[in-house]
C-alpha cells in the first residue's frame, strides 16, 4: 500500500510545562477530508501548526508521500504543498484583498515589478470560487469578519496545495457561505487534495468529512468513520462523557418579564454611509427581562452594527426612532454610559476587541469592575482574586493559574474569560455578538446553560449568531435582519432552521404573521 499523503507519527509539542500535543499519530490520504475534533485547547491547532511548519521544536516525525520532512517555516511548508487556513484571521489590515491573497508570492511582470493587473484578476477569480463578489482592491480592514474569513480561504486556495488544513474556516460564516465552501471542498477532493477540517460545528462534520480523529488533552482518543458519525457521538468522544447538547429548550414557561429593551423603527441618520457597514436602518424589536432574543441574518445583515450602536460604539450619527430601556429613552454615547445603564457587550472578535492577550487572566477578567472593587482608589488584591476565581470556576475556564497570560489559553477559554468579565459587571441587558465563535461543544453547552441561568435571574439577552442551530436552540425568539432592517420575527418553538434561513435570504413563505402572533 502506498504511503499516505501526510503521515505524522509520535508527534509531541509542549509549551513550558503544557503538553499541547502528546504522541499523536495522524494521517491524511489524497482526496480525503479528515476532520480533527476536540475541545478547546485539545491541541488541534498546535498539531496542525506543527504540520505546516509554523511551530518548531516538536518531537516525532512527519512524512509527506513517505518522505520525512522537517519544515523550517510556513513558506517552506507551502513549497512542499502544505498550506493552512488559520483560525485567527491573519491578514494585513491596510493592504487590499488582492495584495493579501498574494502576499509573499506576488506575480511579477517581466521587469520585476508587481503585476497588479494579474493580481487583481486572479484574486477576483479565486474569491468568486468561494462565493463572494468583493472589490478586491478594497483594504481588508473594511471587510466584515466573515468576508475576511473568505479571503483567507481564497488565499489558501491560491496556493494550489496538495494538503490543505482548514482550522475553523466557517466560524464566522452563515449558512449560504458554508454551503459554498462545501462545494469548494468537494471540488478540491476531486482534485485529490488532502484536507484536514477542524470545526466546532458538529453538524458540519458528518456532511463534509470522511474520517474524524478526536483529540483530548493533546492525545488521540478516538477515530471514526465520519460519514456515520452523529453529532452526539462526536461530542461524547471529545468531552469524554455524553453532552446533553444545549437546547434543553424547556421553553421558559415563566411569564416573560417586564419589557426591557424596545426598539421602534430604529435607524441611524448617517451623513455618509461607510462602505461595507450596515448601520441600523429600521429595526423593531423587544427584549424582555429573562428572555433570550436572537439576531439572525446573513453575512453583512447588520447584526454587529446594531449591537455596537446600542453599546455606544457604533457609527457616530443621530439616532432616529425610539430606543427605550424599561420604558425610558436611552442613548448611550460610550461604553461607560452603557455600563451605567446596565448594558454589557461581548464583541465578536475577542483578540481585537476583547482581550489584552499579554495580560493575565486575572487582569482581563476583572477589568470592568476594578473601579467598583476599589476603596479610595485602592484595589484590594484579595477581592480582585476572589472575583476572578469565582468567574473562572463558574465558567469552567481551563487554565494553569490566574496569572497566566490570557493569550496562552485556547480560543474557547479566552471567550469564556470575556463572557466572565461581562457577567461580573452584573448587567441587566447582555449584548452578545457571536458568543460561541470557536467554542467547543462542551463549552458551548456550558455557555448556553449559563445564559439560561442568567436569563432566569431576569437578565435580558440579545444574541447575534450565524449558527442557525444556536439561534433556534437557545433563543426564545429570533429577529431576522436583512440590509440593516428587521424583516421577520420568529418564534423558535414553532419554526426551525430552514425557516430561519429562508427568512434571512428573503424567500420562502411569509411567516411574519405567525411570529408576530406568538410574540404579542
Amino acid at each position: 500500500m502506498a504511503a499516505p499523503l501526510v503521515g505524522m507519527s509520535g508527534v509531541s509539542k509542549s509549551y513550558g510545562g503544557v503538553h499541547a500535543v502528546r504522541d499523536v499519530d495522524f494521517t491524511v490520504e489524497p482526496g480525503e477530508v479528515h476532520a480533527l475534533l476536540g475541545e478547546n485547547g485539545a491541541g488541534k491547532s498546535t498539531l496542525m501548526k506543527v504540520l505546516c511548519g509554523e511551530v518548531g521544536g516538536y518531537r516525532g516525525d512527519i512524512r509527506i508521500d513517505g518522505e520525512p520532512v522537517r519544515f523550517t517555516g510556513p513558506a517552506d511548508a507551502q513549497r512542499a504543498g502544505v498550506a493552512m487556513i488559520h483560525q485567527e484571521l491573519d491578514l494585513v489590515p491596510a493592504l487590499s484583498v488582492a495584495e493579501n491573497v498574494f502576499l509573499g508570492r506576488e506575480p511579477k511582470t517581466p521587469v520585476g515589478t508587481v503585476d497588479r493587473r494579474r493580481m487583481v484578476r486572479e484574486a477576483k477569480a479565486l474569491l468568486e470560487r468561494t462565493g463572494v463578489e468583493l472589490d478586491v482592491r478594497r483594504p481588508v480592514e473594511q471587510l466584515r469578519t466573515g468576508e475576511q474569513q473568505l479571503v483567507t480561504i481564497a488565499k489558501a486556495l491560491s496556493l494550489d496545495a496538495r494538503v490543505l488544513v482548514m482550522d475553523e474556516p466557517t466560524s464566522a460564516l452563515s449558512a449560504p457561505e458554508v454551503e459554498r465552501l462545501f462545494a469548494v471542498i468537494a471540488e478540491l477532493r476531486r482534485a485529490d487534495v488532502g484536507i484536514v477540517y477542524i470545526s466546532h460545528r458538529m453538524e458540519e462534520i458528518g456532511r463534509v468529512a470522511d474520517r474524524a480523529t478526536v483529540l483530548r488533552n493533546g492525545s488521540v482518543v478516538a477515530e471514526f468513520d465520519a460519514r456515520e458519525l452523529t453529532a452526539a457521538q462526536a461530542s461524547e468522544a471529545m468531552v469524554g462523557r455524553p453532552v446533553h447538547l444545549m437546547f434543553q429548550a424547556e421553553a421558559p414557561d415563566q411569564p416573560a418579564g417586564e419589557e426591557l429593551l424596545e426598539l421602534k423603527d430604529f435607524r441611524l441618520a448617517a451623513a455618509r454611509p461607510r462602505p461595507g457597514r450596515r448601520d441600523p436602518a429600521g429595526i423593531d424589536l423587544t427584549v424582555r427581562a429573562g428572555e433570550i432574543v436572537g439576531l439572525g441574518g446573513l453575512l453583512g445583515a447588520g447584526r454587529t452594527e446594531l449591537l455596537e450602536t446600542l453599546y455606544g460604539v457604533g457609527t457616530k450619527a443621530p439616532w432616529r426612532g425610539r430606543v427605550t430601556l424599561r420604558g425610558k429613552p436611552i442613548h448611550p454615547r460610550g461604553p461607560r454610559q452603557a455600563l451605567r445603564l446596565g448594558i454589557t457587550f461581548l464583541p465578536e472578535d475577542r483578540r481585537v476587541a476583547g482581550l489584552a492577550l499579554d495580560h493575565s487572566v486575572l487582569a482581563n477578567s476583572v477589568l470592568s469592575i476594578v473601579d467598583r472593587l476599589a476603596r479610595f482608589g485602592v484595589v484590594p488584591r484579595r477581592a480582585e482574586r476572589a472575583a476572578a476565581q469565582r468567574t473562572v470556576e463558574r465558567l469552567g475556564v481551563k487554565l494553569a493559574r490566574l496569572s497566566s497570560p490570557v493569550g496562552s489559553l485556547s480560543g474557547g477559554n479566552q471567550q469564556k474569560v470575556v463572557l466572565g468579565r461581562n457577567l461580573l459587571a452584573e448587567p441587566s441587558l447582555l449584548l452578545l455578538d457571536e458568543p460561541t465563535r470557536g467554542v467547543d461543544v462542551g463549552a458551548k453547552a456550558e455557555i448556553y446553560r449559563l445564559l439560561g441561568e442568567i436569563a432566569a435571574q431576569g437578565v435580558g439577552v440579545l444574541l447575534a449568531s450565524s449558527e442557525l442551530a444556536e439561534l433556534v436552540g437557545v433563543c426564545d425568539r429570533v429577529v431576522v435582519l436583512r440590509g440593516g432592517a428587521s424583516v421577520r420575527e420568529l418564534n423558535t418553538s414553532q419554526v426551525g432552521e430552514a425557516d430561519l434561513l429562508a427568512a434571512a435570504m428573503g424567500e420562502g413563505p411569509m411567516i411574519t404573521e405567525l411570529a408576530e402572533g406568538s410574540a404579542t
Binding site: G16, G17, E54, V55, R241, Y311, V313, G334, P335, R336, L339, F345, P347, V352, A353, G354, L355, A356, L357, D358, H359, A363, N364, V366, L367, S368, V370, D371, L373, A374, G377, V378, V379, R381, V392, E393, L395, G396, V397, K398, L399, A400, R401, S404, P405, G407, S408, R421, A425, E446
Partner: protein
C-alpha cells in the same frame, strides 16, 4: 453541574504541580532589569580604581553621588514609565524641566514669591502643560510622538522667553531679588549630610509610583489601555481620561524634576534638560518596559536609571575618554535591552 467545577479544580491542581519550577524562572525574569543592574554594579566594583587602598566606587559619598546624579532623570523616567505603559511617549519632559527650572528661578528671584507658592505654580504649569498634551493626543487622536515633539519645542521657546534670553541665577537671602533660603535645601544633604535631598525626592516619587502601580484601580486601567486599548474601552475603562491624566502626571513630574534641578544648581537654565527625554526613555526601556505599552514596572525603571548612572560613574572614575564612553554606554544599553529578550515568550511565536 458539578462536573465543570471539578474540571477547573483539576486544572488548578495540575497548574500547581507545575508551578514551582516555572515560578522560579518567572521570578528570575521578572527581576532581570535588576540583574542587569547587579551585573553592572559588580563590574563597577571590579573595575573601580583604588585610592589609598580603598575602592573609590563603593565610597558612600560616591554612591550617593550616583543616586543624586540620576535623580532628575529618574523622576522624569517615572512619569515616562506611565506614559509608555499606555503606549505613548513624551518627548517634552526635558524642555519642561528647563521651563520649570526657569519658572522656579524667576518666581523666586524676580517675583519674590515664597517657596511654597513658587513651587505650586511651577508644578501647576507642568501639570497643565502635560494635560494639554494629553488632550491633544488622547482626545484629538494625534500621535503622542508628534504632540510631544511639538511640546518639546514649545516648552523650550517658552523657557527662553520667560528667562529673557539668559539663565537666571538664584541667590539666597531675605532681600528683594533673593530666594528664600529654604529653597537651597534642594542642593543639600540630609541625615548627617549623607543623603542628598534630590535623591530623597526621587526615592519618594519612585516609591509612590511603585505603590500606585501595585494597588490602584488607576494602574489597572493604565495597563489595560496599553495592553489593548479597544478592549479597555469596551470594558468601560475611561480611556481618554486616564490617558490625559497620565500625560498630566508626566508633566507634573517633569516640573518637579525642574524644581529639583533649579535647587541643585541655583540656576534656572532655559536650555537645560536638552536630551534628558532620551535618557529617561532609555532608563524606562532598559528597565524592561515595552514601548508597545502594557508591560513594565517602575522598579525596572529605577534599576534602569541606576544602571546608566553607575555605568557613567565607573567610566568617569576610570577616566575613559568621553568618545569611548559614548560607545561603551551605547553597547551596554543594547546588551541590557537584549537581556530582556531572554524572557520566556508569553504567547504567539
Amino acid at each position: 453541574m458539578s462536573e465543570p467545577a471539578t474540571k477547573a479544580g483539576d486544572a488548578a491542581a495540575f497548574g500547581l504541580e507545575r508551578r514551582r519550577g516555572a515560578d522560579l524562572l518567572e521570578v528570575v525574569f521578572k527581576f532581570q532589569s535588576l540583574f542587569g543592574l547587579v551585573l553592572v554594579v559588580i563590574a563597577a566594583i571590579v573595575f573601580s580604581p583604588t585610592k589609598n587602598g580603598s575602592l573609590l566606587f563603593i565610597d558612600p559619598d560616591n554612591l550617593f553621588n550616583v543616586v543624586r546624579s540620576i535623580s532628575e532623570i529618574g523622576i522624569l523616567a517615572v512619569g515616562m514609565t506611565l506614559v509608555i505603559l499606555i503606549g505613548g511617549i513624551d518627548l517634552s519632559v526635558g524642555s519642561v524641566l528647563g521651563l520649570a527650572s526657569v519658572g522656579a528661578a524667576v518666581l523666586l528671584v524676580e517675583n519674590d514669591l515664597g517657596v511654597f507658592l513658587a513651587v505650586l505654580i511651577v508644578l501647576a504649569i507642568g501639570l497643565v502643560f502635560g494635560l494639554l498634551q494629553g488632550v491633544a493626543s488622547a482626545k484629538f487622536g494625534i500621535q503622542a510622538f508628534i504632540v510631544t515633539l511639538a511640546g518639546m519645542q514649545i516648552a523650550r521657546g517658552l523657557a527662553r522667553i520667560w528667562s529673557g534670553g539668559q539663565g537666571v541665577s538664584i541667590t539666597y537671602g531675605d532681600g528683594p531679588g533673593q530666594a528664600p533660603v529654604a529653597f537651597s535645601l534642594l542642593g543639600e544633604r540630609t541625615f548627617n549630610g549623607v543623603v542628598p535631598i534630590p535623591a530623597l525626592v526621587f526615592a519618594v516619587v519612585a516609591g509612590l509610583a511603585i505603590v500606585l502601580l501595585r494597588v490602584s484601580a488607576f494602574s489597572r486601567h493604565i495597563y489595560a489601555i496599553g495592553g489593548n486599548e479597544k478592549a479597555a474601552r469596551l470594558s468601560g475603562v475611561p480611556v481618554t481620561r486616564v490617558k490625559v491624566l497620565v500625560f498630566g502626571i508626566c508633566g507634573l513630574l517633569a516640573a518637579l524634576a525642574g524644581i529639583v534641578h533649579a535647587g541643585q544648581l541655583n540656576f534656572g537654565g532655559p536650555n537645560d534638560g536638552a536630551m534628558y527625554e532620551l535618557d529617561a526613555i532609555a532608563a524606562v526601556v532598559i528597565g524592561g518596559t515595552s514601548l508597545m505599552g502594557g508591560r513594565g514596572t517602575v522598579v525596572g525603571t529605577v534599576a534602569g536609571a541606576l544602571l546608566v548612572g553607575v555605568l557613567r560613574n565607573i567610566l568617569a572614575l576610570n577616566n575613559v575618554d568621553s568618545n569611548i564612553q559614548l560607545l561603551v554606554i551605547g553597547l551596554v544599553i543594547v546588551l541590557a535591552a537584549g537581556l530582556q529578550r531572554l524572557r520566556p515568550a508569553s504567547a504567539g511565536s
